[in-house]
């Protein structure tokens, strides 16, 4: 599932507004979405992709666009609800309005509130899992999703799970190493704490539109 395009199962609410803000005459609607712990309220064109909303409307430029055919996975984010941490989606393949009411986590929201890096981020750094770094946000988010499903993947399972994320620099070898190292670290955390190491979603902070 980590390289798939899952969207939340709950229905999305689209309340069409009068007076289009778009240039094409396409309809617009209200969107309320929590991104990296901050709740946003906006009016967006129906055709706006989630990645366009993230980058162009709310300035979450840590998530990037590498293609226009959903092949590269650079735009991967986690899409979930307040109670559920979310599954990886390619945010170029989700309309912003489909994320209405959802809880989105980008690479910018992965570190802890104190700035401590996620195990996957640390492992990418320690094991040189990136060079130019453009694919890295999507690669990291896909890896996070994989490790929720499979806390102890083999090399082949990592390679398979990340095959929806293209990298041109690394030949993937150190990415595979990094994901497996992160898996080991996360398993150790679970053993130590005796419970799931994934922190609960943080309470959203209200931001005026």
């Amino acid at each position: 599932m980590s390289s798939g395009n899952a969207v939340p199962s709950q229905p999305t609410s689209m309340s069409t507004t009068s007076g289009s803000t778009g240039s094409s005459g396409s309809s617009s609607a209200r969107l309320s979405v929590t991104v990296d712990g901050i709740r946003y309220a906006d009016v967006v064109e129906a055709r706006t992709l989630l990645v366009q909303y993230l980058r162009d409307t709310i300035g979450k430029v840590g998530t990037v666009v590498g293609c226009d055919t959903s092949n590269c996975g650079s735009c991967t984010v986690l899409l979930g609800t307040a109670d559920e941490p979310g599954r990886s989606v390619k945010s170029c393949s989700v309309l912003a309005l489909q994320a209405d009411g959802a809880n989105v986590t980008t690479v910018e929201g992965l570190a802890g509130p104190d700035g401590s890096l996620h195990a996957v981020q640390r492992a990418f750094h320690e094991l040189h899992g990136l060079q130019c770094g453009f694919c890295t946000p999507g690669m990291i988010m896909s890896a996070v999703d994989l490790l929720r499903d499979n806390p102890d993947p083999t090399d082949d399972e990592v390679r398979d799970a990340l095959s929806g994320n293209l990298c041109r620099c690394t030949g993937y070898q150190n990415i595979v190493r990094a994901v497996r190292a992160a898996a080991a670290e996360l398993r150790a955390q679970v053993t130590v704490s005796g419970e799931d190491a994934e922190p609960a979603p943080r309470q959203p902070v209200e931001v005026a539109p």
Partner: protein, 786 residues
């Protein structure tokens, strides 16, 4: 007290660059938004060759949010022509390359008209309203038809599709004998096709031009901010000192961002026209269509040898597809290869002839290795053919011909002086890592048993010329610029160090490696060094990053700048310690009085003394800064042996890489972790050429591989684990002993893989499989031979 030396150079330091890249705090060009910034959309030609009979931008101008729209005809008088900096012959045919086509389009994807609008969606919507009428013309796409009699001409006014013919002959050059007279007991003649590839950096190109009040600031996802600035000045008439070019975080290049692009000039024209900042960020389809491609050559190779396997001569006739125009260094790419067909071998006679040819396709230019992968492919493939012909193991036939360790420095038949190398050491290590003899035994057993899955072993013993480049050699080859590199080192009052480099990293980790070098040279902490790059306002001198040059040229400039700083500091330290500078040694990060190591001053101590300047020795200026520019006297010559074992399913044509061994000798290593990463990525691209990638046009000249759906970059599931190791023969041509590593893997891997496939299929009579060796092609090769 004991003074210990802890060296940073050689340590697998984790990268400084990572902190922002793994947290999304990046500064890609497309992330930048300026007040009042407008967006550009570019309408591209759907035809490979057509006359433009009319362009009507009025329907676009009437759309909401549109600020401007214009076509090539509207700017014909001012847009000029994009540069080719490497006109390789005096009589090269060099047609104009306008950023926007004026009356004729010559490839699918050529820019025709633009829209400037408030937001990107409005720009794209309006672009689709532009009306263009075309009158299609006959197109020519492939090399051999393009040079055949009666071919359609890409530039009819030039009367030919042949841009240039460049010849090297060892007899004429005095570096060897005549190929025609070479002992030819054995003659091997082969034709190889280097398919067209697309660099496919992950970050699409993006450019922002802020026209300011006539002082332009330009952000571009480029490998070459310094070169770009010079060309902006030359092409737009803007004074150079009024142009600032910034390459912020850049997401890969592989040569693909070594270009002065139409889009960069179009954005400039648009910004100048509307007086506001303009951004253009391409889609992936734009990248595939219009960013330059690589390779696309046909190689006719003739090798002569004696029965004992000794090579006596090599003749290469090359056709190189330039595309519809000449790119920035496009004509020079095959010429770089000209010096590498002789590779690591010491035969006496060599002739090389290359014609650059125009076709109705996207331009080709540098792609990882640029000429050297193609050369290495041809010679390493043909050495395998020779081995079969004379009945020797392919390793043995190479050993009989390669330069021995004790023969360095060695002047090659192409006229280059190889400073160092140890081909036996690298090969022996690779053979041992593979388990060569056991693998050969298993291969024999599978052949014996008629196993439908056959085993093949591919060998690639390569060298390359890196550290581009000695300026005098570039001048002799008619390259417009030099090959030096620059660095500046500034020690701040508190002992922290700022480094300004003329290299322009886009994934190579210069911030880390340069910090390691400075830490050792100045005795400061790794984390106390800040590396500044990619902004012509802070770094005004530089020739940027390509051709495995950054460390081998820029790194040496940095060492020299550090040593100048150290020499200054030594005078200050001696003054403080009341001794002669000659009494001081620099060890353990400080100047120490010989025999009294506790009497010590660090560079930081000197920096504060210089800052205060209360008591400086006479003649010492109150700065602890230095600049240096290094121009190499020769190239550097990394080498190595790559071995690839493949399993080929003879029933389906499927190829699986079972084991891949890369033993590279890149000289001294600053950061082994970064070096290994470069090898992994290079090998991945080399394997991709062998097995996966090809840019394909249909017969009308439409690019069929216009996205990642059709152009099949290997995924994590497609690539093998690479076992990499090194031998270390320091370069003797520079004080660090470094050679460069950026292109090695891409050069070595392609012939290793294809040699392995052909080796597996020798019993089936197969002598070649065209690249990429897809299951279908492998299957057909088997079927066609039987």
């Amino acid at each position: 007290m004991t003074v210990t030396e802890e060296r940073e150079v050689g340590a697998a330091r984790r990268r400084k660059e990572d902190a922002r890249l793994i947290t999304g705090h990046t500064n890609w060009t497309d992330n930048i938004t300026l007040p009042g910034m407008l967006h550009l959309a570019i309408l591209r030609s759907p035809h490979a060759h057509a006359r433009i009979t009319s362009v009507d931008t009025a329907p676009a101008l009437s759309r909401p949010n549109v600020v401007a729209a214009f076509s090539g005809a509207d700017v014909a008088a001012v847009q000029g022509s994009l540069p080719c900096a490497w006109p390789v012959t005096e009589d090269i045919v060099h047609p104009d390359r306008p950023p926007l086509a004026v009356d004729t389009v010559r490839f699918h994807g050529e820019a025709v008209a633009v829209v400037v609008a408030r937001d990107r969606a409005s720009a794209v919507d309006a672009m689709e309203a532009i009306e263009v009428s075309y009158e299609p013309l006959p197109a020519v796409l492939d090399l051999e038809p393009a040079v055949a009699e009666g071919s359609p001409l890409v530039h009819p006014d030039k009367g030919t599709n042949r841009s240039y013919t460049w010849i090297f002959d060892s007899a004429a050059a005095g570096t060897g004998t005549d190929v025609a007279a070479a002992d030819a007991e054995v003659v091997i003649e082969r034709r190889y096709v280097q398919q067209r590839l697309i660099p496919a950096f992950m970050e699409p190109r993006s450019v922002i031009v802020d026209p300011g009040m006539g002082d332009y600031t330009i952000w571009s996802a480029t490998q070459i901010p310094h070169i770009l600035r010079v060309f902006y000045a030359l092409l737009t008439g803007t004074p150079e000192h009024k142009i600032r070019v910034i390459a912020p975080d850049v997401g890969g290049g592989f040569g693909g961002k070594l270009q002065v692009t139409p889009e960069e000039l179009i954005a400039f024209m648009a910004a100048r026209r509307v007086g506001r900042p303009v951004k253009y960020t391409e889609t992936r389809s734009d990248t595939m269509l219009s960013a330059h491609h690589g390779r696309d050559m046909i190689q006719n190779v003739r090798l002569t040898a004696r029965r004992d396997g000794t090579v006596t001569g090599l003749s290469v006739k090359l056709l190189a597809n330039m595309g519809a125009y000449l790119g920035l260094v496009g004509p020079g790419v095959p010429i770089l290869g000209a010096f590498m067909y002789n590779a690591i071998y010491k035969f006496p006679a060599y002739r090389f002839e290359c014609s650059g040819v125009f076709t109705n396709t996207t331009i080709t230019d540098a792609y990882r290795g640029a000429g050297r992968p193609e050369a290495t492919y041809a010679i390493e493939r043909v050495m395998d053919e020779l081995a079969v012909e004379v009945g020797l193991d392919p390793i043995e036939v190479r050993r009989r011909n390669w330069i021995k360790k004790e023969e360095f420095p060695f002047t090659s038949v192409a006229g280059l002086v190889y400073d160092s190398g140890d081909y036996d050491a690298a090969t022996d290590k690779a053979l041992s890592l593979l388990g060569y003899d056991a693998m050969r035994a298993e291969q024999a057993a599978r052949r014996e048993s008629g196993d439908p899955v056959q085993l093949g072993i591919g060998i690639s013993t390569y060298t390359e010329m890196c550290g581009l480049a000695p300026s005098r050699i570039l001048g002799a080859l008619r390259y417009a610029a030099g090959g030096w590199e620059s660095a500046a080192v500034r020690v701040l009052p508190t002992g922290k160090v700022e480094v300004v480099t003329g290299t322009s990293p886009h994934g190579q980790g210069h911030e880390t490696a340069w910090s390691q070098i400075v830490a050792d040279e100045l005795g400061v902490a790794f984390q106390d060094v800040e590396v500044l790059h990619g902004d012509t306002r802070t770094s005004h001198k530089g020739l940027d990053t390509y051709g495995s040059r950054s460390l081998a040229v820029g790194g040496i400039a940095l060492v020299e700048a550090c040593r100048k700083v150290r020499d200054k500091a030594r005078v200050v330290a001696a003054h403080m310690l009341e001794c002669s500078p000659d009494d001081l040694e620099f060890t353990g990060g400080a100047f120490r009085v010989r025999g009294t190591p506790d009497a010590a001053k660090t560079v930081a101590d000197c920096a504060f003394a210089v800052f205060a300047a209360h008591d400086l020795p006479d003649g010492v200026e109150a700065t602890l800064d230095a600049d240096a520019t290094f121009d190499p006297q020769t190239f550097s010559f990394p080498h190595g042996t790559h071995l690839c074992a493949v399993e080929v399913d003879t029933q389906t044509g499927r190829v699986d890489i079972r084991k891949y061994i890369a033993v590279d000798d890149v000289g001294k290593v600053v950061n082994p972790m970064i070096v290994e990463g470069q090898v992994h990525g290079g090998v991945a691209q080399g394997i991709a050429q062998a097995l996966h990638e090809e840019a394909v046009y249909d017969e009308s000249g439409t690019l069929l591989t216009g996205s990642f759906v059709e152009y099949t970059l290997p995924t994590s599931a497609d690539l093998p684990e690479i076992i990499s190791d090194r031998t270390e023969t320091p370069a003797t041509s520079n004080p660090l002993g470094v050679k460069g590593v950026g292109e090695a893997g891409a050069i070595a891997a392609t012939p290793a893989v294809v040699n392995a496939i052909v080796d597996a299929l020798r019993p089936y009579g197969v002598t070649d499989v065209p690249m990429p060796c897809t299951p279908e092609r492998v299957w057909r090769a088997i079927g066609g031979a039987s």
